[in-house]
C-alpha cells in the first residue's frame, strides 16, 4: 500500500504507517518534506508534522462549525434531533464539570467541552480503515499520511502543555504566587509544623520542592502520554490486522489467496457489496424479515468473503468495536483529568 511499485515488506508497511508527514529544514539547508524517518529525525526540533496539524485543524474546525451552527440556531423551543444530541453532549460535560470543579470559572466548562469533542474526533479517525487515507495521499504523491493526530505524541503533549499552563495560571489566580510557591516547598513535610530548627529549613524545603515539582510535572506528562499510548497501541493493532489481511499471509488469509491468487480482483468486491446491499435493501423494503436477513447476510459473508472475512474483516470489526470504547473513554479521561487537575490547582490543600 505504499507509493512504491513493489509490494512493501511487513516491516516497511508498518514503518510507513507510523511515519508522520514532516516538513522542515534539511541538514543541507533546504526546506521540504522529509522522505523517511531518518530525514525527519535529522530536521531536529524546528520541523512540523503537517498531517497531524492539518487533521487537528480540520477536526477542530468541524467541532467548531457543528457546535457553532447548533448554538446559533438554539432557542428555548422544541429542539431538533441534532440539536438535542449536541445539547446532550454539552449537558454531559456541564454535569461532569459541576461535579468535579468547585471553584468558579468561565473557562473550565468550554475548555472541557472542546477537549472532549476535539479529542474524540481525533481519536475517531482511528476507526477509518488504516489504508484508505494514506492510499489516497500516496496517489496524490504525498509520501506519508498519519491521520490520527492523537497517535502523534506532539499533539497530545501539546495539548497537555496548554493544560499545564492553565494549571499554573489557576494556582496563582486562586492562591497567589506566594501560596503556589509555598505549596511547592512546604508539602509534604512542613518544617514549621514539625518544629524543626531554622537551619534545617532550606534542606527540608529543597526536599519538598523536589517531590512536588515531580508531582506537578507528572500531571501534563501523564495526561499527554496516556492518550498517546492508548491511541498509538490501538493504531498499531489496526495496522497489524490490516497487514495480516492485505498481505494474504498466514492461515487465516489463505482462503482468498487460494481462490484468486496474489491479487483479489475488483469485481469480487463489487459483487460482494452489491449482494450485501441488495439484502439490506430488501429488508428495508420489508420484503425480507429480520431473521431471514440476518441469515442471508451471514451466508453471504461466509460465501463471498470466505476465510478472508473470518480472518481480516472480522478481526478488524472486533477490534474497531472495542476501540470505539477506548476512543470515547480516552476522550472522556482526558477531559476529566483536565478538570480534576484544574480543580486541584484552584483548591487549597
Amino acid at each position: 500500500m505504499s507509493s512504491g511499485s513493489e509490494a512493501p515488506t511487513s516491516g516497511e508497511y508498518i514503518q510507513h504507517h507510523l511515519q508522520n508527514l514532516t516538513f522542515g529544514q534539511h541538514p543541507d539547508g533546504s526546506w521540504g518534506l522529509a522522505h523517511g524517518a531518518a530525514e525527519a529525525a535529522a530536521m531536529g526540533f524546528w520541523a512540523i508534522h503537517v498531517d497531524t496539524l492539518a487533521w487537528s485543524l480540520v477536526l477542530g474546525l468541524s467541532f467548531y462549525f457543528i457546535f457553532r451552527n447548533t448554538a446559533k440556531k438554539a432557542n428555548s423551543g422544541v429542539p431538533t434531533r441534532f440539536q438535542a444530541l449536541i445539547e446532550m453532549v454539552v449537558e454531559f460535560v456541564d454535569t461532569s464539570v459541576k461535579e468535579s470543579f468547585h471553584g468558579t470559572s468561565r473557562l473550565i466548562a468550554p475548555l472541557a467541552l472542546t477537549l472532549f469533542v476535539w479529542v474524540f474526533f481525533m481519536n475517531f479517525m482511528d476507526l477509518i480503515p488504516v489504508d484508505w487515507l494514506p492510499h489516497v495521499a500516496s496517489s496524490l504523491n504525498v509520501p506519508y499520511q498519519k491521520v490520527v493526530p492523537t497517535t502523534d505524541v506532539n499533539a497530545t503533549l501539546g495539548m497537555a502543555i496548554t493544560v499545564f499552563i492553565l494549571i499554573i495560571i489557576y494556582s496563582i489566580r486562586f492562591k497567589g504566587v506566594g501560596g503556589f510557591l509555598g505549596e511547592l516547598v512546604f508539602n509534604p513535610l512542613n518544617p514549621k509544623e514539625l518544629g524543626m530548627p531554622k537551619a534545617a529549613w532550606p534542606l527540608v524545603m529543597a526536599f519538598n520542592f523536589l517531590l512536588e515539582i515531580v508531582g506537578l510535572l507528572a500531571k501534563p506528562v501523564s495526561l499527554g502520554l496516556r492518550l498517546f499510548g492508548n491511541m498509538y497501541a490501538g493504531e498499531l493493532i489496526f495496522i497489524l490486522i490490516a497487514l495480516v489481511f492485505t498481505a494474504g499471509s498466514g492461515v487465516i488469509g489463505a482462503g482468498l489467496s487460494a481462490t484468486f491468487g496474489e491479487h483479489i480482483p475488483a469485481w469480487f468486491w463489487v459483487v460482494a457489496c452489491v449482494a450485501v446491499f441488495a439484502t439490506l435493501w430488501a429488508n428495508m423494503k420489508e420484503k425480507l424479515n429480520n431473521r431471514n436477513t440476518l441469515c442471508l447476510l451471514l451466508a453471504e459473508m461466509l460465501v463471498i468473503g470466505g476465510l478472508a472475512f473470518v480472518g481480516g474483516q472480522l478481526m478488524h470489526f472486533g477490534w474497531a468495536a472495542f476501540h470505539l470504547i477506548i476512543v470515547t473513554l480516552q476522550a472522556f479521561i482526558f477531559m476529566m483529568l483536565t478538570i480534576v487537575y484544574l480543580s486541584m490547582a484552584s483548591e487549597h490543600h
Binding site: 522542515g24 530536521m43 457546535f67 448554538a71 495539548m159 496548554t162
Partner: protein, 156 residues
C-alpha cells in the same frame, strides 16, 4: 515519533479552539438550554395550576347542579300543592253550582206545580159546576149556590 515544533503549534491551536468555544459556542447553547428548562418548569407548574382549577370548577359545577336540583324539586312541590288547591277550588265551585242549579230547578218545579194547581182548580170548579148543573138540571141556581161552590173549590 520525534518531538518537534508540532508540539507548540498544537498547543496554540488548542488555546484558539477553547477560546472559540468559550466565546461562540458555550454561552448561546447554555442560554438556550437554561431558557428551555425554565420554560418547561413554568409549563409544568401551569399545568398543575390548570389541573387544580379544573378540579375547583368541577366542584363548583357539582354544587350548582345540586342547588338547581333542589330548586327544581321545590318548584315541583309547589306546583303539586297548587294543583291540589286548584282542584279543590274547582270541586267546591262545582258543588256550589250544582246546589244552585238544584235550588233553581226546585223553584221552577214548584212554581210550575202551583200554576198547574191553580189551573186545575179553576178547571175543576167549572167542571164541578157543570157536573152539578147537569145533575140538578137547572134546579140549582148558580147565584144561590155560589157560596157552597166556593167552599168546594177551596177544598180542592
Amino acid at each position: 515519533m520525534n518531538m518537534n515544533a508540532t508540539l507548540i503549534l498544537q498547543s496554540i491551536a488548542m488555546m484558539i479552539f477553547v477560546w472559540f468555544c468559550m466565546k461562540f459556542i458555550w454561552p448561546p447553547l447554555l442560554k438556550a438550554m437554561d431558557e428551555r428548562r425554565t420554560k418547561i418548569a413554568d409549563g409544568l407548574a401551569a399545568s398543575d395550576r390548570a389541573e387544580k382549577a379544573l378540579a375547583d370548577a368541577n366542584r363548583e359545577v357539582e354544587q350548582q347542579i345540586k342547588t338547581a336540583r333542589d330548586k327544581a324539586g321545590e318548584i315541583v312541590d309547589q306546583a303539586n300543592q297548587r294543583h291540589g288547591k286548584i282542584l279543590d277550588q274547582a270541586k267546591d265551585d262545582a258543588v256550589a253550582e250544582r246546589q244552585r242549579q238544584v235550588i233553581a230547578g226546585e223553584a221552577e218545579i214548584s212554581q210550575a206545580a202551583n200554576q198547574a194547581r191553580e189551573e186545575l182548580r179553576a178547571t175543576v170548579a167549572s167542571l164541578a159546576v157543570l157536573g152539578a148543573r147537569q145533575i140538578l138540571e137547572k134546579e140549582v141556581d148558580e147565584e144561590t149556590h155560589r157560596e157552597l161552590l166556593d167552599k168546594l173549590i177551596a177544598e180542592i
